[in-house]
């Protein structure tokens, strides 16, 4: 057993960090339209990480995709990578997978009646398992980069794959870890430089101990997210519980990390100008999209305790 990232995995993560920080720095104009740089993602091979080489992909697996998703959370990447690779890819057949890897088709998937990015993706995997057309009326969500819509067309076409709920949950957990990590880093940086009463506020244990707790949250969330990613990649029988655990814990950790970071930043953290609220909103989006933590824990209780016996 060896649960550390391999050198290749570390290099991929670093490459994703570098590319994302170049094009999506924190001082960018978040309110202007943001280019998702989709053709570049295809060129980098990140749209086809788990797609086989015969289909034009890289032939790696879901662990590597999870590492990219973690970095996308860290950078607050705006495009529908989560939707295409995390939510839809497993349901697609060889032809559609090749199109994803080539960057020609963007996908999303219907989750509990809502389709994230409906207006900007080409096609959608419905809850019926069929392929529907993208486009259509969108509603704003808690995360301004992630509007959603409802499918209105009557029918769809058959797909070769099947929806993979653990994969979608593990993908959201990975993003949540990146968000929590960034919120923590922002808080540490601020607490190290902001001075009150003649000292950086980070020396006060009311601040530093909460950040130490956030650190523990982030690391525990990361461990669960990597465990879930590995189970999904390997088709391990624990994938359903691992992914449910990872999504429940990481989404809560991300929300809490952002809330603590906002608090540490004082009034600054409550301003529109500071990017923290955008991380917070993405964390809330992940928390509320698909199954929420209490629902996920109910699934885990069914798995480990057994289904409840009616009184």
């Amino acid at each position: 057993m060896d649960f550390a990232l391999t050198t290749e995995q570390q290099e991929l993560k670093q490459a994703a960090r570098a590319w994302l920080s170049e094009w999506y720095p924190l001082d960018r104009d978040f309110d202007a339209p943001q280019d998702d740089r989709w053709p570049e993602l295809a060129e980098l091979g990140w749209l086809g990480v788990s797609v086989s080489e015969q289909e034009g992909g890289v032939g790696l697996g879901f662990v590597e995709e999870a590492l990219i998703l973690e970095e996308m959370g860290y950078a607050l990447y705006p495009g529908p990578y989560l939707a295409t690779v995390g939510l839809a890819l497993a349901a697609l057949g060889p032809q559609e997978r090749a199109e994803v890897a080539a960057g020609t088709t963007k996908w999303s998937a219907e989750i509990k009646g809502l389709v994230p990015w409906l207006g900007s993706v080409d096609r959608v995997v419905g809850m019926d398992g069929l392929a529907h057309d993208g486009g259509g009326q969108e509603i704003a969500t808690v995360d301004p980069d992630r509007p959603a819509g409802r499918l209105e067309d009557g029918g769809g076409t058959q797909l070769d794959g099947s929806r993979d709920i653990p994969r979608a949950r593990a993908a959201m957990a990975a993003e949540a870890v990146g968000i929590a990590q960034r919120a923590l880093e922002l808080a540490v940086a601020y607490a190290s430089t902001r001075e009150q009463f003649g000292k950086p506020i980070g020396v006060y244990q009311a601040i530093s101990h909460r950040l130490a707790d956030t650190y523990a949250d982030v690391e525990l969330a990361r461990s669960l997210a990597y465990w879930a990613a590995w189970c999904v990649a390997e088709g391990d029988e624990q994938a359903p519980v691992a992914a449910a655990a990872a999504k429940a814990f990481a989404a809560e950790a991300a929300v809490t990390a952002c809330e603590r970071s906002i608090q540490v930043h004082g009034g600054t953290g409550f301003t529109w100008e500071h990017p923290l609220h955008r991380f917070y909103k993405r964390a809330l989006w992940l928390h509320g999209t698909g199954s929420r933590p209490t629902e996920l824990r109910a699934e885990i209780a069914d798995a480990v305790i057994g289904a409840p016996v009616p009184a």
Binding site: M1, D2, F3, A4, L5, T6, Q9, V63, L184, V188, A191, S192, K199, P200, G202, V203, Y204, Q205, S208, H209, L211, A212, D213, Y215, A216, E219, L220, A221, R222, S223, L224, Y226, W227, W230, A242, A245, A248, F249, T294, R297, A298, I300, A301, V304, I305, G306, P308, V309, P310, A311
Partner: protein, 381 residues
Amino acid sequence: MNLRDTPEEAAFRAELRTWLDDNLPEERRGGRGGAQRFDDAFGREWSRKLYDGGYAGLTWPKEYGGAGAPYSFQAIFYEETTRAQAPSHVGVIGLGMAGPTIMTHGTEEQKQAHLSKILSAEEIWCQGFSEPDAGSDLAAARTRMERRGDVFVLNGQKVWSSFAHVADWCILIGQSDPDAPRYKGLSYMMVDMRSPGVEVRPLRQITGESEFNEIFFTDVEVPAENLLGEEGQGWQVAMTTLLHERGTLGFALTAALEVGVDRLIGLARDRANGDAVARDRVAQEWIELQALRYTNYRSLGTYQRTGIPGPEGSAIKLRWSEQNQRMTKLGRELLGEEGILDDGWWHHQQLRSRGNTIEAGTSEVLRNIVAERVLGLPKGR
């Protein structure tokens, strides 16, 4: 990244399972640990069996009685002994703290004299770090170590020394040069607990039992060759001990927690099956147990690659202690009206868990360590 056993790991696991089936009597499974481990002769017998079977000191070098095995074998050992509900080796302080410190700082004579006896439970060790006025602030230790020729003469008092009442040896930090600046005047020694002038008084804990003790030293003569490291280097040596206390115990802690969470799940199944709130809380404990488990694995993976445990390991004891407190209290709650009865297990575990956030570095000290050394926040002191 791979969570499956290598062929060597799988073979070791299979062997260990068979060995446990053959050697561990049914009635000795599922004990509660703590002071109970010294209640009868079985604790030492079991430890000796582990040693003879080659399972004590798995990662220690062969020349000192260990098995020279990779760290993953130690992790497998904890997993399998947990599954079998086996008691742990009685030499907790020796295996986790004294042994690794002797291995790092000891002379060849010191290593030969003690290491294999720690593994075989011939020598039980205790630790003399805390004092009445030096708890979290270890550098404030005042126990006097006065050099007189070939001996150091010890005078002072130690407190919270687990297992001192049964220990043969003590690792101890004290002041060998009271005029030196802070950190510089400390030395580290191995003290024979049967030396004249050593007096042990057990302290009764809130559980009613006595694991830890006060130790009084009155003109105790300790041979100078019992110094670990150089005179005046006590602080550096003590840091090694604490690194091991906080670094290598993650798997053991998680293993103990898993026993509790398994029992908790059983309670929920039997007594709170249809209670949605209870089910949610039990699921949360199960999730956090997995989170600790895989954090251990990540830390281990980094350790195997670089020789340094990953920084994420520093969060483990902090979170484990809080979870054990929460989990045992939930167990009491799920017992319903029987939660106030002394059932011999939950009652003891829940009270004992209050010590978890105090022993081996209080949670406050651990948060300081994470804040300053891992996150790099400015130092408060």
